[in-house]
């Protein structure tokens, strides 16, 4: 069940992160705010409904997305495009 919730929470966490970051991008801010709230509501409902069985996988999903963003950036910055300083 924990794995299932994690797999379900992963795209929701990605959507939440994208919508939150989208607020910084500007344009259609109210609509983006609604998306953030809607996704947050779904995640919170899962926690309320399933308790700890959802809290940890959802937390892990959010951590996965955030950490992968940072790791991805660092890998891209230092290994894919290289660290050559001409």
């Amino acid at each position: 069940m924990t794995v299932l919730v994690y797999l379900l929470a992963l795209p929701l966490a990605s959507e939440l992160t994208a919508s939150l970051l989208g607020l910084r991008d500007g344009g259609r801010t109210p609509w983006r705010l609604v998306r953030v709230l809607l996704v947050a509501l779904v995640l919170l409902s899962l926690i309320r409904w399933l308790g700890d069985m959802a809290t940890y996988p959802i937390g892990a999903a959010l951590a996965t997305i955030v950490s992968m963003q940072i790791i991805g950036y660092l890998v891209w910055r230092f290994f894919v495009i290289g660290i050559r300083q001409p």
Binding site: S14, T17, L21, R24, D25, G26, G27, R28, I81
Partner: protein
């Protein structure tokens, strides 16, 4: 000062006084190759008679008596009194690594002692022959002194040339031999159809094409005044010139010469009965650049249109700092690694299918999953989604207005003195922190918007199933509605400027004048046209031809191409574009086929996404080209400083250095002479690359494409469907567009944004480069102009004035009669 040097005392270090050709012959002689003996009249002798080198032809010199005596003495010392010799040019630049001067200067055969002095003078004077003058002007090189080789004339029964690398397939390792009867002059002058032999790296003859050799230059001429071209006896015309054994011997000798000079060579050879003589060995200047590491690469078509001319070395060097290792520049053009792509895609695609996909020719219709590559593929996709999925999602919901925040952000970076150029490149183009606003990753947004190509593929599949009655050729008409975007606004502004110019007599006269820039500058600054032009430049001045290359001037710096476009539009631009009505008709046809149910709504949603990504791609392009402009302006500041301190000679030289070289020149570690030499070599190499068509692949076999059905058909890729019959106009540069008349078919080597104002009045477009995603395709689809891209030989095969029938939908163009 030595006027004469025997060939056997010369080596490569003498190149400055005996020229490249003689220096190489001397080096070959010293290495033991069989080179006809003789001597060289050095450039000192030339400079004794021409102390000042002029670009214009001087009168023949009065020969120094001492020189004539020395020349006669040398002849007696090297040859029999009645022997005939060859007198050959060896200009100081000739046969160097840069440019070859092949055939530009004179060679004289059958010269005896009596005619030697005149032959030497004629050889010197050939430095100013019309061909040599044009050649130097073309390559932008100065006149150099000339040495002259006086060499025993080989009584050649057979001769020819041998390339140690096939210029068309340099990576294959084959050598190519061309051979004909008699002396080699007929062959190198292109007067004979020679035999062509290909020998593989293992010394096996793999191809033997026997030419019909109708003419030959005999080794001996009884009467020097008679024609030196003799007919080949009938029984020899179609007989192979070389035996297999001789071809293999040539292969071995050529390989040894290549090893000696450590570079691919083009060897002129001759057989005097059974004995092989080497007459010349020069670097192959026509071999295009190849990847240094032997990687399998495919030309990256989605951006190939931007590399119609190769990037200059500084642009390549700076872009390399932000380039993923999946990609590589070869000869200033961008390629991607074929094998890496093959490994990461979890699909079973043949080489042909994968190349087609990269070239954006077609999406595989029924791709099969590869069980072996599936785990790795899914892993990579998952990893890609986890790391970049958020950005992908953000870019799917951006509004055009939110992109405008990019301008002040870039301006602040551009004026930050603490950032050097590579850092500015990385900050603006190399990807930002994941939490940075999307407008700070403008290039990434532009690339991610290319996904509309996949969505169109999906839509086509759905329509085939759901609306079989709908004509898919109308799909582009359905997609392109009246969505506003920067590229359309720019074209509209040019149309408005041309209308304004047409309204006023003074602007009409100014634009029609020979020097429109000066005439327009003379207009009253308060003139409405001047005001509008100023507004246009303030919005679009960062754009121009070859925007990716930092060496190319922008419209703000040089408005000539812009004024020519306005003039062209003024002359021919009153065309009514009924694209929107065609959109409405096509949309109605689609709705009738689909009905008004769920299918129609799904298709509408897909269409709206496709339109969004098309406009995102065009709009982000407007902004990210500002980055290229900003970097160019920073580089120009550095160049000004180097010019001011005498470290650079000419404006534009900076772009032929690498960034470390720019830094070394600034700090004084690299002296002005070394910089000048490097710049000169690179300018020549760049010009050579620009004149050759970029190879589509390296180290992979190209898929076999459909051959033209006949000689009057050229095949290409459909970028905008439709058919049109009309007159072709071959235009090589957008500032020559004034030649175009409304309704003609534009035939161009490439197109970039500066061409697009021409499009509305055109009947059709045929482009040598490009793909479905290329700018020509995108804009042509907007205007519903049939457009065929990737038509390889369009420039060489189609002539201006020729009538063409363009079947863009079916991917070919018919060459009809010539009317002019």
């Amino acid at each position: 000062m030595e006027w004469i040097l025997p060939l056997d005392r010369i080596n490569l270090t003498h190149a400055d006084t005996v020229g490249g050709k003689a220096a190489r012959l001397g080096a070959l002689m010293q290495a033991g190759f069989n080179v006809p003996s003789g001597f060289v009249i050095t450039s000192d002798a030339f400079l004794r008679h021409y102390p000042i080198l002029l670009d214009e032809k001087p009168p023949p010199p009065t020969l120094d008596a001492d020189f004539v005596t020395t020349l006669k003495t040398a002849f007696i010392a090297h040859f029999e009194p009645d022997e005939v010799v060859a007198v050959r040019s060896s200009a100081i630049d000739e046969d160097g690594a840069g440019i070859s001067y092949a055939g530009q200067h004179a060679t004289y055969y059958y010269i005896n002692a009596e005619r030697l002095t005149q032959a030497v003078v004629d050889c010197w004077m050939s430095l100013w022959s019309p061909a040599a003058l044009a050649y130097r002007e073309n390559w932008d090189v100065a006149t150099q002194p000339m040495a002259v080789i006086v060499q025993r004339l080989v009584k050649a029964t057979r001769s020819g040339v041998c390339f140690s690398k096939d210029p068309l397939e340099p990576e294959a390792g084959n050598i190519i031999i061309e051979a004909s009867w008699g002396l080699g002059a007929a062959l190198v002058d292109g007067r004979v159809q020679p035999d062509r032999v290909k020998v593989d790296p293992f010394g096996q003859v793999t191809v033997l094409q026997i030419g019909d050799k109708q003419l030959m230059v005999p080794a001996q001429l009884d009467d020097p005044s008679q024609s030196r071209l003799d007919p080949v006896p009938d029984h020899l015309r179609t007989v192979p010139v070389l035996s297999t054994r001789e071809a293999v011997a040539l292969h071995e000798t050529t390989e040894q010469i290549e090893t000696l000079f450590a570079e691919p060579v083009d060897v002129e050879w001759a057989f005097d009965d059974e004995e092989l003589h080497i007459l010349q060995a020069r670097p192959i200047t026509a071999v295009t650049a190849t990847p240094r590491d032997g990687r399998a690469l495919v030309l990256f078509k989605p951006v190939a249109e931007n590399f119609s001319e190769p990037l200059t070395p500084l642009s390549v060097d700076l872009f390399t700092t932000i380039l993923p290792r999946l990609a590589a520049f070869v000869g200033g053009r961008l390629y991607i690694d074929f094998n890496v792509l093959k490994r990461v895609l979890p699909l079973r695609l043949s080489n042909t299918e994968l190349i087609d996909l990269v070239m954006l020719r077609r999406v595989p219709l029924a791709p099969r999953l590869s069980v072996v590559q599936l785990p790795a593929g899914i892993g990579i996709l998952l990893l890609g989604w986890l790391t970049f999925g958020t950005f992908w999602s953000r870019s799917s919901r951006l509004e055009a207005g939110s992109l405008e925040r990019f301008v002040p952000w870039l301006s602040a970076l551009r004026h930050d003195p603490s950032l050097d150029v590579p850092t500015l490149m990385k900050r603006t183009l190399g990807g930002r922190f994941p939490w940075s606003p999307a407008h700070q990753s403008m290039l990434a947004l532009n690339i991610s918007a290319g996904r509309y190509f996949l969505l169109i593929g999906l839509l086509q599949q759905l329509l085939k199933r759901w609306a079989p009655a709908f004509d898919l050729h109308q799909l582009d008409d359905v997609i392109h509605d009246d969505t506003d975007m920067w590229s359309k606004r720019m074209v509209r502004s040019i149309t408005e400027l041309s209308a304004l110019a047409a309204k006023h007599e003074d602007t009409r006269v100014a634009l029609m004048g020979n020097d429109a820039v000066i005439e327009v500058r003379r207009l009253d600054p308060a003139h409405p046209f001047v005001n509008s032009l100023g507004e246009f430049i303030s919005t679009y001045g960062h754009r121009g031809a070859r925007e990716l290359d930092f060496s190319a001037p922008r419209w703000r710096e040089d408005i000539t191409p812009l004024l020519i476009m306005i003039r062209n539009q003024m002359l021919h631009g009153d065309q009514v574009n009924d694209s929107y009505s065609r959109h409405l008709v096509a949309r109605d046809a689609m709705r009738t086929s689909l009905g008004r149910g769920l299918k129609w709504r799904v298709v509408q949603k897909l269409l709206s996404r496709i339109r969004y990504y098309i406009s995102l791609r065009e709009n982000t392009r407007h902004y990210h080209t500002m980055i290229f402009d900003s970097i160019r302006q920073r580089l120009l500041l550095i160049e000004d400083e180097l010019l001011h301190t005498g470290k650079l000679k000419c404006a534009g030289d900076l772009f032929f250095l690498t960034w470390p070289e720019v830094q070394a020149a600034s700090s004084g570690e690299l002296d002005a002479q070394a910089v000048s030499r490097t710049v000169r070599e690179r300018r020549i190499a760049h010009r050579r690359e620009a004149r050759s068509r970029a190879p589509e692949t390296f180290n992979i076999k190209l898929p076999i494409t459909d051959a033209p059905t006949n000689e009057s058909t050229l095949r290409g890729q459909c970028a905008s469907p439709g058919t049109f019959e009309g007159i072709a106009r071959v235009i090589l540069r957008p500032d020559h567009a004034a030649l175009l008349k409304p309704g003609e078919i534009l035939v161009a080597p490439y197109t970039d944004p500066t061409w697009t104002p021409l499009f509305p009045s055109l009947g059709g477009i045929v482009v040598g480069l490009g793909s479905y995603l290329s700018h020509a395709g995108t804009i042509a689809r907007e205007y519903r102009i049939p457009c065929l891209v990737d038509v390889h030989d369009c420039i060489s095969r189609i002539r201006s004035g020729q009538r063409l029938r363009l079947h863009a939908t079916d991917g070919y163009v018919e060459l009809l009669d010539e009317v002019e």
